[in-house]
């Protein structure tokens, strides 16, 4: 079976007056299988959201993408990719409070989406919308449809957002930090809902998060992003249990959960570089505890070592 989504050597440049000002995504390779939940993790600024937007075919102004993003055979980087948005792929953003337009009811905004993709009568539209608001387990779907965004809590809005994303039965659902703005208990319910719907409909999920705990809880596979590249990729359990790249190791070690309170946390020193223009060698070299001279010269490719587990560290290449 071929993959549903296949991203090959995706690069995203920001161009201002003919000059490239930044290249926040520098050659991402990623495949998502049918019905798979894949996690994309990394610190903020690593290019997670931009990658998601490229898959959606919706890059911000000034950004140009090269490489290929094939979704079910269709080219998402082609100019007409926007037509398929909502049909084949849709997205749920981090902040449900700002993702909805405050001056329209939830129902009206869902109806807009249905109209763009389906040729329904008004009654069919109503039924369709209500059906999906019920699916996302909103306690009173009819009332939610008639509500304005500010009348719903963050958790309820995120449910409505998920309903909107699923209205046209996409094959791929992108979730960009879907629970970051929510409390833990609400977040957990939202994730459980996504799993539930995924079992029902069988769509694939690209889950963007910086939370390795969430990845652990629900993802089949995980891609670790650093400075616009996938630096480690594999089965979730495998990657979290025996990470190969020092960056992945660093992210895991930095977590305060179940640490000995008498020992300092193993923090990664420094921060994500804010501009990747003109970087040579491994972008993580400056922060890496295991850096060697070669790291400054060679930017290692993502290399599969054991079954499906790949990483982009020079020590793996040489091993």
């Amino acid at each position: 079976m071929s993959a549903l989504l296949s991203v090959k050597d995706l690069r995203i440049d920001f161009v201002d007056r003919g000059r490239v000002t930044n290249t926040p995504v520098r050659g991402i390779d990623l495949e998502v299988g049918h019905g798979e939940i894949i996690g994309v993790v990394g610190e903020s600024g690593c290019g997670k959201t931009l990658t998601g937007l490229a898959v959606l075919g919706l890059l911000p102004g000034g950004a140009t993408a090269t490489g290929s993003v094939l979704l079910d055979g269709g080219d998402q980087l082609a100019p007409n990719a926007a037509n398929r948005r909502g049909e084949d792929v849709s997205i749920v953003f981090q902040n449900p409070g700002t993702a909805f337009n405050p001056v329209f009811t939830i129902g009206a905004q869902l109806r807009n989406v249905v109209r763009r993709h389906r040729d329904f009568t008004k009654r069919e539209e109503d039924a369709h919308i209500l059906n999906y608001l019920t699916l996302v387990q909103l306690p009173d779907p009819a009332r939610a449809a008639a509500s304005y965004p500010h009348e719903l809590s963050g958790g309820m809005l995120q449910r409505a957002m998920i309903a909107m994303a699923l209205l046209c039965e996409p094959k791929l659902l992108i979730l960009d930090e879907p629970t970051t703005a929510l409390d833990v208990t609400v977040a957990k319910q939202i994730l459980e809902l996504v799993l539930d719907l995924q079992r029902q409909f069988g769509f694939s999920v690209l889950l963007i998060t910086h939370n390795l705990g969430i990845v652990h809880d629900i993802c089949d596979r995980v891609a670790v992003l650093y400075a616009g590249r996938v630096i480690e990729l594999g089965e979730t359990a495998e990657v979290l249990k025996s990470p190969k790249h020092p960056y992945t190791q660093g992210l895991l070690d930095a977590l305060p959960g179940n640490r000995d309170p008498n020992m300092p946390l193993a923090a990664i020193r420094g921060t994500v570089p804010s501009n990747l223009l003109g970087i040579t060698g491994c972008a993580f070299a400056d922060r890496c505890p295991l850096v060697i001279d070669e790291c400054r010269r060679i930017d290692p490719a993502l290399l599969e070592s054991t079954n499906g587990h790949a990483d982009a560290c020079i020590r793996t290449v040489r091993a």
């Binding site: 939940i37 610190e43 903020s44 409390d183 833990v184 208990t185 977040a187 957990k188 994730l191 459980e192 799993l195 910086h210 939370n211 390795l212 705990g213 969430i214 652990h216 809880d217 629900i218 993802c219 089949d220 660093g250 992210l251 070690d253 930095a254 977590l255 305060p256 959960g257 179940n258 640490r259 309170p261 300092p264 946390l265 193993a266 923090a267 990664i268 020193r269 921060t271 804010s274």
Partner: protein, 258 residues
């Protein structure tokens, strides 16, 4: 052991008389000398409001906040001002908590100018010393906040809070706006500073892992009230309240649900 900060039945009501909203609803807690006291709860549970009452940035509707044996509400403006040099605070959002038009050096100098007689080159060297103390090198003093990352800004926030050699810091979600990697740096820094300067912390967070790692004792807040409290190990190891259990269960990273 004696309590550095002692909150007694603090109540803060917002809203109108007809629609009162008890954001803090009768909270008492004692933060012992040298300890790290954790305050955990979901957003809107009243943690920040309680901190503001403890600092007398807002007046509690009723109840008392006592710091080093002095009741804040009974102090004169001058006394309250000088007390502020011994009770520092670090805010959740380091970007918002720093005046965007002031350089890092003048931001760190502000509490020193307020509370000490240091001026000129002495002031400057103390500022550098403080920046060094929080792990910021000499490249930063002349920069503006928007030229620093979130983690660096939070270090500046901590340097300011430390400037007047306080006895206690109230830390309101100091790492919630930061990546885990940077969070680890800041938590380590806070622990180091505590040992180096004999500090007492009231650490507010919605993150149970952070509280568990950092704190000696903890209070769980819900809807303005403390519903459970005790030693961190006891509360997290054997939670008595249903709500605490649900918070613990919801923390991701424990159990696969797919």
């Amino acid at each position: 052991m004696s309590a550095v900060l002692d909150l007694q039945d603090v109540v803060k009501v917002f809203g109108t008389r007809r629609h009162p909203h008890r954001a803090v609803d009768g909270v008492s807690l004692r933060v012992e000398e040298g300890s790290i006291f954790g305050l955990v709860g979901e957003s809107g549970s009243g943690k920040t409001t309680l901190a503001r009452c403890a600092l007398h940035l807002i007046e509690p509707t009723s109840g008392r906040a006592v710091f080093e044996g002095q009741e804040l509400g009974a102090l004169s403006r001058g006394q309250l001002r000088s007390l502020r040099s011994r009770l520092g605070v670090v805010f959740q959002n380091p970007v918002a908590a720093l005046n965007p038009r002031m350089t890092i050096a003048s931001l760190v100098a502000e509490p020193l100018v307020t509370h000490t007689k240091l001026r000129g080159s002495e002031l400057k060297s103390r500022v550098l010393e403080l920046l060094d103390d929080v792990g910021l090198g000499s490249a930063y003093p002349s920069r503006l906040p928007h030229q620093l990352s979130g983690g660096q800004l939070q270090r500046v926030g901590i340097a300011r809070a430390l400037a007047t050699t306080p006895r206690m810091l109230i830390l309101d979600e100091p790492t919630s706006a930061l990546d885990v990697s940077v969070q680890a740096q800041i938590l380590n820094l806070l622990r180091e500073l505590r040992t180096r300067h004999d500090l007492t912390y009231l650490l507010i967070s919605h993150d149970l892992d952070v509280i568990r790692y950092m704190c000696d004792s903890v209070a769980v807040m819900k809807q303005g009230q403390i519903i459970e409290r005790g030693d961190t190990g006891a509360v997290f190891g054997n939670p008595e309240h249903e709500y605490t259990r649900s918070l613990l269960a919801a923390t991701p990273g424990q159990r696969r649900i797919r």
